[in-house]
Amino acid sequence: MSCEDSFRSAQPAEKALSRHPGVRQALILPDGAGAWRALVVPGDAWIDEAMDRERADEAVLRRWQKTYDLTQSPAAAATAPVGFNTISWDSSYTRQPIPAEAMREWVETTVASIFELTPRSVCEIGCGTGMLLMRIAPQCDRYVAADFSSGVLRRVREQLATVDSLAGRVELFERRADQLEDLAENSFDTVVLNSVAQYFPGRAYLLRVLENAARVVSPGGHIFIGDVRSLPLLSGFAASVELFQAEGSMSLADLRDRIHNRVRRTPELVLSPAFFLALPRHIPKISRVEIRLRGGRADNEMTRFRYNVILHVGPETEQALDLPFEECPAVDVALASIQARFSEGREPFALRGIPNVRVEQDLEALATLDSSDQLATADDLRRELSGRPARGLHPQDLLDLESAVPGSQVLLSWAGSRADGSYDAVFLPDRRAAAGGVNMPLPELPDLLHVANAPGQAAARAKLVEDLSAYAREHFAAGSQLSRIELVDALPAVASERDGLAAFLTRPCL
């Protein structure tokens, strides 16, 4: 049967499945083994009711709020250095505080990224202990900061009281991120949400917050969303942490279970860059989206598995630069050849799919776990991985090239959303060449199906799959042959995308 024939025979079943109240959209495809698989976008109302969304969202927010209130109660918080209260910044690997040097770099690289946006009037949503505020506010005319934790705001107030120059320039509000509707339209040039989106109860909540953020930012301004946990790399992150913590004798089967459980139990909101790339369709005031890798030499979960997003607000006045993206040169000569071309050339150039040394071993661990039947224990896996040479380029090595060419810019993008952690780079000997931005490679189709995890929804989503299986068996003949029902965030919109997806999912086609 050709792909076209498969679609024709699946269409009645698709229509039947779409009539279930828990289904917003459905697509049925051959599974490549003689049966069918269904991709289903769940209906929000059904999930909301099944999980009692309002109560569940409140519970999530209340837990995080309590967490931050609690962490700021020890005496240590009161004596933390001004602008550098890192209490509660614990490593997922060691469960110990992240070293001060790494935290200092994290703060400085974040502040530098925000200063690139030349902020004068800032609204920071989720200011935490004020590590950004204390550095950025002195350069601004107005700084409004909100946080849902009275505990952290108490610490920020204590710190502000020690800096006379900030008196009257900073306004603090004890509010949740979705309680800022009273801020006036177009009243800021920059909104900052740094390392807070992960505490939101879901992507619908985040979308509401961003809609309001876009409303309060004046045209020409920006929304900076920092330290976003990467969904394409969530399994890699889980593998990285679990392998780090595993006893040497732990079996690989147990290790796989632990990784799987860590992914499934992730209590934080984890997002694909694809979520942000779709925002201009939902929020027309957003004209352009940049997904950037974090800078820094420190080797930790923030530099490896998190990214920054810049949303440009208001109409673009300049056209985005369109460059052909070339394949990355062989890694052993890549850095030297890029350096030579960048410092000697006058033309901008772009590379795609640059292997990422920060995460390559973590992702190799994951791939080896899935494929190897020669290894038995965590120590076997560690030995296997330690024998492999590094093949990727360090993002900071590329960012450092800027310093050798005055007026230049290096842009590193994760907009491609690839699960191998590879990134794309644009090298601009003259940064003015990209005043309207650069069109970066976008995610390929399979990566668009999942844009966010669903913390707190596991039970409701499992119930929907169970209901749909029963419903399918009852309502259409092909139901009895449904091998799998997968809940996704989006379906391909047009026929050609659908063809491409089918080819991807069903190769070889039935």
């Binding site: 837990r63 995080w64 309590k66 967490t67 609690l70 109660s73 020890p74 469960r95 459980n261 209590p267």
Partner: protein, 83 residues
């Protein structure tokens, strides 16, 4: 039900919610061992505030005091003695 048994049951429920079915012994580590995540400690705090009249904003929060059923029980005892 004794106070310690109530704590044990609550922690057991918390572990089951995380699909952790390994036995729970009263002196077994919960947080350092990784059986519970930091967000779970908040559940314990709310449970203690609501059921044992402990005010963490007054006594301060130290995660080590929640690392086992025994440690949590000792915390309750010392808070009661201080009242």
């Amino acid at each position: 039900m004794t106070e310690k048994a109530a704590i044990h049951d609550f922690v057991q429920d918390l572990l089951l919610r995380n699909e952790d079915r390994a036995p729970l012994v009263n002196d077994g580590s919960l947080l350092v061992s990784g059986r519970l995540q930091s967000i779970d400690t908040v559940e314990i705090v709310i449970f203690l505030e609501e059921n044992f009249n402990i005010d963490f904003s007054q006594i301060g929060f130290d995660r080590d005091q929640l690392d086992s059923v025994d440690a949590i029980y000792a915390l309750i005892q010392s808070a009661a003695a201080a009242r």
